[in-house]
């Protein structure tokens, strides 16, 4: 699809917004996400209209699934961001060790971490939550490390320093705003990842019994399984599509 913007006079944020709007899978994914969220909000009213069945159960479970994924992704993103920023900002040896550790851990099949934790420590909800959160942290740390490292190397920072700006002013006026777009695109995948890890573990009987994964795991037949499975698959696809749109919007030299 043709994207219409003027690179000369349109602000970079406006261009990013238009690029996102021109990314058809991303806009469709965003619309689908909104439908899922609205369905989740309206679930109590729908329960009054329909008898309690797989559809209303799936809508009800959406609340727990989305909330759990959002909280786990947020915690993982914050921890990973801190890790990545420290790896880029600390001295040579410590920074390199942190970056190497993030790279090694990100290469492991961390989706299995909640299973390993449950196997070792039994069904402990807090540990399960921490394991899901931990599964997204190294990937975020690797991405943030790369962004933070590149953010400090732009020529316009040297130019700003020559133009009399203090280091602090350069950081807050140039470095951080410049990194926000790529950071958003890099952090977004933590959300579908957390959801997928939680759903897989819940499907196997670990974690909460009120999420889509748990409904799929306990479903007796294809019909009872279908609503939760469709909602989970559609939500994951929508989240990934939105992530692709964000990456496209913030690709290149300018957001």
């Amino acid at each position: 699809m043709q994207t219409h913007f003027d690179t000369a006079t349109d602000s970079p944020w406006r261009i990013a917004r238009r690029r996102f709007a021109a990314h058809r899978p991303a806009t469709h994914g965003l619309a689908l996400l909104m439908v899922v969220v609205v369905g989740d909000i309206l679930a109590p009213q729908l329960e009054e209209l329909f008898t309690d069945g797989p559809v209303t159960q799936a809508l009800r479970a959406g609340h727990a699934t989305l909330a759990f994924a959002a909280v786990a992704a947020l915690a993982g993103a914050l921890t990973g961001t801190l890790w990545g920023v420290l790896a880029a900002g600390l001295g040579r040896q410590v920074g390199r060790a942190l970056a190497r550790a993030a790279g090694w851990l990100a290469a492991l099949p961390l989706a299995l971490l909640p299973l390993v934790v449950a196997g070792l420590a039994g069904r402990a909800p807090l540990l399960f939550d921490m394991a899901v959160t931990a599964s997204v942290v190294p990937g975020v740390a690797v991405a943030v490390h790369a962004i933070a490292r590149d953010a400090a190397r732009h020529e316009f920072q040297a130019a700003a320093e020559a133009a009399g700006l203090s280091r602090r002013a350069i950081l807050w006026r140039h470095t951080v705003p410049g990194a926000l777009g790529p950071l958003l695109a890099a952090l977004w995948p933590a959300l579908p990842r957390a959801m997928a890890v939680e759903s897989m573990a819940s499907l196997l009987g670990l974690g909460s019994s009120q999420t889509w994964g748990a409904l799929i795991g306990t479903a007796g037949s294809g019909f009872t399984l279908l609503p939760a499975a469709v909602l989970l698959a559609a939500t994951l696809a929508a989240l990934h599509a939105v992530g692709a749109g964000l990456a496209d919007a913030f690709a290149g030299d300018r957001p």
Partner: protein, 544 residues
């Protein structure tokens, strides 16, 4: 006159409904070298592909092209197949008994230890050797016409000029036709017998060549405003096994004095340290030791408030003008930001006037303030960079390869702006450049840098007439479009040879050169050179 080997009549290249090249007529005869120059995006690559009959998908070529039976095209950024050895790739083109011809072709392109390198994979070869191997692969097929698109465009000027010279020598010896396409900055016109220019889709003769610029007049030699002494810059590389720090020294003992209203040119190629000197003067990178005195005050020891105050006097231009601007902030905001930071005592209205004045002095319309950097051409971005530098009315401009990314017209405009500033306001300039012609033209005094050290220094006219160092002579030859007499590629900064850093490429190198780095010796007052055998050369360098 012999018949043309390749002839194009009315060659038109289209992409859908867009005409990229319209009715191009040209021909190439045996032993002739034709250069096709033009700005980036002019359609030179597509013109060559049209001439070769190898149009990419989505493009179409009309018109008549009479081609020879054996024609080779080396596209821009051509590379070798990564998973096959050189020998395998030569064998694929030449057949099973390719080895002797491959060695001959590689040696023709001055690839040392050619027989041994045939067994290597492309990733085991340095960039310069890979480029040579690509060209050797084309030569080995014995083409009647070779079309080369920006060959060696990413290489250092002396390496690239030698490569182009070797190609031209091959064409003249073999009686083949050679067409070199590239930007003017790629030096393709240097060894050519004829030059055509492609611009706005039309191929024609180039604009009348301007008189070669004369070297800058000898400076007045007043009291220096900027004095650099024994400047060293080094970066930590890691730890030694004893726990000490390993250092990479990129600038070693550089010094010069710059009188008011004059220019010092720092001339050198990649890794010469010229940019590091420029940035160390501005304290954009830390110097290890030395002294940089501006009106007698050592900038290297200034506290932050004093340095901030001094930045009003000293401003910078950067090599990639677009990258020197924050893409997320409009031009006007960036200029206002610089004005506010450098002159905090002025009110907003005065700062706005200052910004408008700076844009006007850089030759930009006021509406440019509303633009974002992504919408600027490199030439406009360079002027915006100049406008930002002019905001505080500086007395010193430190220019780090300010024309490296510009087309000839933009380059000329920027240089004229700088010279005008110097004439009108007495601004002093430090110009770091790899362009020898620019250094002679603008620099009152020229320092030639190699591997972080000054190897020759004198006023521009003296150097142009009587350069003594082989490296300076090679740079002069390159600037004049002749083949420099330096073989091979520059060594890595991490693995410099012992003694003189040029000795592996130098035609004069002897055993002594490996023992000790020559010190700067005085040829005459104001002219110093660091070469063990500087007195063996005669005046009027010819590049040989």
């Amino acid at each position: 006159m012999s018949a043309p080997l390749l002839r194009a009549d009315g060659l038109t290249v289209r992409c859908g409904g867009d005409v990229i090249v319209l009715n191009a007529d040209f021909e190439i005869r045996p032993a002739e070298v034709l250069a096709i120059t033009g700005p980036a995006g002019a359609g030179k690559s597509l013109l060559l592909r049209g001439a070769a009959g190898l149009m990419p998908r989505g493009y179409a070529a009309d018109g008549e092209v009479a081609r020879p039976g054996r024609l080779a095209l080396v596209p821009q950024d051509a590379d070798l197949t990564p998973h096959r050895t050189l020998a395998a790739q030569f064998a694929e083109v030449l057949g099973p008994d390719a080895r002797p011809r491959a060695v001959t072709a590689l040696e023709r392109m001055e690839v040392s230890a050619a027989a041994r390198r045939l067994d290597l994979y492309p990733h085991e070869l340095p960039d310069g050797i890979r480029m040579r191997a690509v060209l050797a692969l084309a030569l080995a097929t014995g083409p009647e016409v070779l079309l080369a698109d920006a060959p060696g465009a990413g290489l250092d000027p002396t390496v690239r000029a030698r490569l182009l010279g070797l190609l031209a020598a091959w064409a003249r010896e073999a009686g083949a036709g050679l067409i070199l396409a590239g930007r003017a900055a790629d030096g393709v016109a240097g060894p050519a017998d004829r030059v055509l220019r492609l611009d706005h889709g039309r191929l024609g003769p180039p604009a009348e060549a301007a008189e070669p610029p004369s070297p800058a007049a000898r400076g007045e030699g007043g009291a220096p405003v900027l004095s650099v002494r024994d400047l060293h810059v080094a970066f930590p590389l890691g730890r030694t096994w004893r726990g000490g720090t390993r250092w990479l020294t990129v600038v070693e003992g550089v010094g010069f004095e710059l009188p008011e209203g004059e220019t010092v040119a720092l001339l050198g190629e990649t890794g010469s340290g010229k940019s590091m000197v420029a940035r160390a003067i501005l304290r954009l990178i830390p110097a290890s030791s030395g002294r940089v005195a501006w009106h007698g005050r050592d900038l290297l020891t200034l506290d932050p408030p004093s340095l901030h105050h001094t930045r009003r006097d000293m401003q910078a231009l950067f090599p990639d003008p677009r990258k020197a601007l924050d893409p997320r902030i409009s031009v006007g905001e960036q200029l206002a930001e610089a004005a506010g930071a450098l002159i905090p005592e002025e009110d907003e209205a005065t700062l706005r006037l200052r910004v408008a004045d700076a844009l006007a002095r850089a030759g930009l319309p006021a509406a440019t303030a509303e633009h974002y950097p992504a919408g600027l051409t490199p030439g406009e971005a360079a002027r915006v960079g100049l406008a930002r530098a002019l905001v505080p009315h500086p007395r010193l401009l430190v220019c780090d390869e300010p024309t490296a990314m510009l087309d000839p017209a933009d380059r000329e405009a920027l240089i004229e702006h700088l010279l005008h500033l110097q004439r009108q306001r007495g601004v002093s300039l430090v110009l770091a450049t790899a362009d020898a012609a620019l250094a002679w033209r603008v620099g009152h005094r020229v320092l030639v840098l190699l591997a972080g050290q000054v190897v020759e220094e004198a006023d521009a006219a003296t150097l142009l007439a009587d350069a003594r160092h082989p490296y300076t002579r090679a740079l002069i030859a390159t600037g004049e479009g002749r083949m420099p007499d330096l073989r091979g590629d520059p060594p890595s900064a991490l693995r410099l040879p012992s003694g003189c850093p040029l000795r592996l490429r130098c035609p004069r190198a002897r055993d002594t050169c490996a023992d000790v780095m020559p010190a700067l010796e005085t040829v005459r007052p104001g002219h110093r050179v660091a070469c063990h055998y500087w007195d063996e050369t005669t005046s009027n360098p010819d590049g040989s």
